[in-house]
């Protein structure tokens, strides 16, 4: 009895005041908030680089930036968006939601949680500081292929060290997710009762633990090639530049799924709520996620069909890649069947989720086309690829993150966001993002290579349209910032359930939820 009282007293202390609350916090919600705000900041840092890229590409000729700086922009845009915006946003959502979804008071390893976040600002300070160094920021592409990347100036060791830090942060975040999910589920919540967001994150976390060390190894080999006289990737010294690509994409392809599996989870939470109908096939969704994760380890060389692999290798990677369409199709069919004969309403989270389903599927189609090696020889390294991965990453991952933000923001803050503005944000984003990326399919097919600062005049019109879409998309995101911050500051009170009878333990907590989510484990039937 006394322990129970002591425990309650412990609960009452709440967060520390001022800056120390954020610096020293071990609370999953505070850390989740930090991750999400950091991701939002990086979304704008990376986004402003994209705006500069689209400004330069608005017309043929060299206007605003020199070619070297242009290459730095494309390189840093990708690194910042992948490691600074999309991944931290998903970790932020995981931090906020996993304990609330599985009936736990907090993450399993709270101090490590604090550390894994606070590494990131340092990592990105290092990375972004390279813009001010002799030789400029890294300009060899985010794929950092040698020998080109070895020509980087003073920025090189900073790039490598920043990637190491991001990797350490990701691995620690992933370990925390795995330990929390495996050990802290409420009584009665078996694995096959976990919400799909938790499932997709569990699988994502294993992917992270499997591949981030591979990336660390690859960049360390680059470092020793540059400074310590090794020749891992230098042909003149007996090394093999293609080996780097194999190692990089052995990380890189699972990395792609690291950025999309949690999105699948979010959308699988949202669609049933607004269709007022249970997810059509829960277990097949879990198995499909696991299949995608498995396949992600045996398809990496489809990123390098043009390096001159043996025919047998090309055939294997083509077939394996095509197979991914099967579990991905299962997911899309499940979402559509969930909507079928539902009773749908279209609040902002649902709009973003539906946008996700349509536009991610378009990205999936172009992905299937890219899998066909004999035609990939044409598509490879063109704007067709740029269009493809922006459809899966922007209208896929980013739209899912925004869907999730609108869906859970009332729960997190206790306030409803402004629905009218939310819908405006959705429609502006959806229209502009398609004006931005859809014409890039045509550019790629017509022969425009990616990563070029200037292009022949046959590409002028679609580039101009694409740039206009880009500026509109960039501006539309300011609306998102306004909506989020005005919801944090006030707004109509949200009920505990927020939505019409949503499924999940997080909706049984108050809005906003108590500082330590579930102090007594709920019973799951």
């Amino acid at each position: 009895m006394t322990t129970a009282t002591a425990h309650e007293a412990h609960d009452d202390h709440g967060p520390a005041r001022g800056l120390s609350r954020w610096l020293f916090t071990t609370n999953h919600k505070d850390i989740g908030t930090l991750y999400l705000l950091f991701a939002l900041l990086m979304f704008f840092v990376g986004g402003s680089m994209a705006m500069a890229i689209r400004a330069e590409l608005f017309e043929p000729g060299l206007q605003f930036v020199n070619p070297m700086f242009f290459n730095s922009l494309t390189t840093m845009h990708a690194l910042v968006m992948i490691f600074g915006a999309v991944m931290p946003a998903f970790v932020g959502l995981a931090n906020w939601l996993i304990p609330m979804m599985i009936g736990a008071p907090d993450m399993a390893l709270p101090r490590m949680n604090n550390w894994s976040f606070w590494i990131l600002p340092f990592a990105f300070t290092l990375l972004l500081s390279t813009f001010f160094m002799e030789g400029g920021a890294p300009a060899g592409g985010w794929t950092i292929y040698p020998p080109l990347v070895l020509q980087t100036g003073d920025a090189f060791p900073f790039l490598i060290f920043a990637i190491h830090l991001m990797g350490i942060s990701s691995i620690m975040g992933a370990i925390n997710v795995v330990v929390t999910i495996l050990n802290m589920r409420a009584p009665g919540m078996t694995m096959m009762k976990m919400p799909l967001f938790v499932w997709t994150w569990l699988i994502t976390a294993y992917l992270l633990i499997a591949v981030m060390p591979v990336l660390a190894g690859a960049v360390t080999m680059l470092l020793t090639d540059k400074f310590f006289g090794t020749s891992f990737f230098t042909a003149a010294g007996g090394g093999d530049p293609v080996m780097f690509q194999h190692i990089f994409w052995f990380f890189g392809h699972p990395e792609v799924y690291i950025m999309i599996l949690p999105a699948f989870g979010i959308v699988s939470q949202i669609i049933p709520t607004f269709a007022r109908k249970p997810l059509f096939g829960y277990s097949s969704m879990v198995y499909a996620t696991a299949s995608i994760a498995f396949l992600s380890f045996i398809v990496w060389a489809h990123h390098m069909f043009t390096v001159g692999m043996p025919l047998a290798g090309e055939l294997f990677f083509m077939y394996a890649t095509m197979l991914i369409a099967v579990p991905t199709g299962v997911k899309v069919f499940n979402w559509v069947s969930t909507m079928w004969r539902g009773s749908m309403t279209f609040e902002t989270p649902m709009l973003f989720a539906l946008g996700f389903v349509v536009m991610f599927t378009i990205g999936g189609f172009s992905g299937l086309m890219l899998a066909i090696a004999p035609v990939d020889f044409q598509y490879h390294d063109t704007y067709f690829v740029v269009a493809h991965f922006h459809y899966v990453l922007v209208t896929g991952a980013v739209f899912a993150i925004m869907a999730g933000a609108y869906y859970w923001l009332p729960k997190w803050t206790g306030n409803m966001y402004n629905e009218t503005l939310g819908k405006w944000h959705f429609w502006l984003s959806t229209i502009s993002v398609n004006v931005l990326f859809f014409p890039q399919h045509f550019l790629g097919l017509a022969g425009m290579p990616r990563r070029i600062p200037d292009y022949s005049i046959q590409f002028a019109e679609f580039n101009m349209i694409s740039s206009l879409g880009g500026f509109a998309f960039g501006l539309s995101q300011l609306l998102f910032v306004y909506i989020v911050f005005s919801t944090i500051r006030g707004g109509a009170r949200a009920t505990d359930e927020v939505w019409d009878n949503p499924e999940g333990l997080e909706w049984t907590l108050s809005s906003p939820p108590p500082y330590h989510s579930f102090t007594t484990a709920p019973e799951v039937k």
Partner: protein, 375 residues
């Protein structure tokens, strides 16, 4: 420009709406893959269209069901949610059917891939070497070879004059091939990775230092076909185009003879003594096509990336050191070994130029014979 933009803009939107059916409107706007002029390009094109139409068909079914549901099954229309879920039969069906469709795609794809990778029985072999930022072509059977660099004037790039219709897709020395012959390319690179790509020839291949990749094409119609480097290779990645000119056999033979004649003349040039003025004049030309991309027109370089030659330690230091770095390059940097790229006369000229331009005024004169001795 803007006056002519408007009607074309409407055409583009209509074309974008019809994305796949706009085959005939593609010429100007470039909506689709080119049909191509080589057998493998045709194969890639038809495979591309097949997969595209399959995707469109699947898209119509999936999005059709989704939008039907969005329109009909909405709460505002009084729809009451059914509560059905889980059906093993349906799950198996929508796993098996896509799988069968994929198998259907895999057959033509495999056939095409095998044909593309078959470089045997070729008639002409050309070795292609990627450099930062130009291409070298060596005809293995004819013992001729040359470099091919961008010939678009800088003024067009910097918007000082109007751009010509082949802007950024024009070179000084195009690669010439005979029509109707199977041409095999042996592709490699000297510094970083590049990729050789002409869309109408149907495929691209990476040019990788230390590796020799192969690809082939056979052009049946005489004509000029343009492409670009497709793998990020540094600063001027966007400025190393590829131009292939296909000629009738007789014209091709004549071109080969001219090339051989030109090479013989150039070799003789390397044997004689040059005057200082001749060297400086020739050196300026060589500098413009080989060095200016990094070391810049005024020899100022790019701080932190490419060293300045104006008042530089090497260009004003001992002549031997200067010849050595130009001949052999500098390991671990972008400085290439130009000994393999330029003849003795050009090397002597450019070194003489660098030692006397931009106020370097060393007064040194380097003769082709000095280069020959240093090799």
């Amino acid at each position: 420009m803007s006056a002519s933009m408007k009607p074309r803009g409407c055409q583009a939107l209509a074309g974008a709406g019809l994305m796949t059916v706009a085959g005939s409107a593609t010429a100007e706007w470039g909506l689709n893959l080119p049909v191509g002029v080589s057998p493998i390009a045709n194969e890639a094109y038809s495979l591309h269209m097949l997969i595209l139409w399959i995707c469109v068909a699947i898209g119509v079914v999936v999005f059709g069901a989704m939008f039907y549901s969005i329109i009909k099954h909405r709460k505002s229309k009084g729809a009451v949610a059914a509560q059905f879920h889980e059906s093993t039969t349906i799950e198996i069906l929508w796993t098996i059917i896509p799988f069968l469709i994929l198998v259907g795609m895999a057959f033509p794809a495999t056939k095409a891939l095998i044909a593309m990778e078959d470089t045997s029985n070729s008639d002409v072999s050309i070795k292609v070497t990627g450099y930062q930022w130009k291409w070298q072509y060596e005809y293995l059977d004819e013992e001729i070879g040359f470099f091919s660099t961008l010939s678009t004037p800088k003024d067009e790039i910097f918007n000082k004059v109007a751009k010509n219709e082949d802007y950024l897709l024009q070179v000084d020395n195009p690669v010439v091939v005979p029509v109707g012959k199977k041409v095999r390319l042996l592709i490699t690179a000297n510094d970083v990775i590049h990729a050789w790509w002409v869309p109408e020839l149907g495929m691209k291949k990476d040019a990788i230092p230390g590796f020799v990749n192969e690809m082939w094409f056979r052009i049946d119609e005489p004509g000029t076909y343009r492409g670009q480097c497709a793998e990020l290779c540094g600063k001027d990645h966007g400025f190393m185009p590829i131009v292939v000119v296909a000629k009738e056999q007789a014209e091709y033979d004549q071109w080969v003879a001219e090339q051989k004649q030109g090479q013989a003349t150039a070799a003789a040039e390397s044997e004689r003594e040059w005057t200082r003025d001749e060297l400086v004049a020739r050196g300026e030309e060589v500098y413009k096509s080989n060095c200016v991309a990094c070391h810049m027109a005024g020899g100022e370089g790019v701080p932190g990336a490419f060293p300045a030659l104006k008042g530089g330690a090497i260009t004003t230091g001992p002549v031997e050191g200067h010849i050595d770095i130009v001949l052999n390059g500098s390991a671990g940097t972008a400085m290439a070994a130009f000994g393999a790229q330029l003849n003795d006369a050009d090397l002597a000229a450019v070194i003489t130029y660098e030692r006397n331009a931009w106020g370097n005024d060393t007064g040194d004169v380097v003769q082709p014979a000095d280069i020959k001795a240093a090799r």
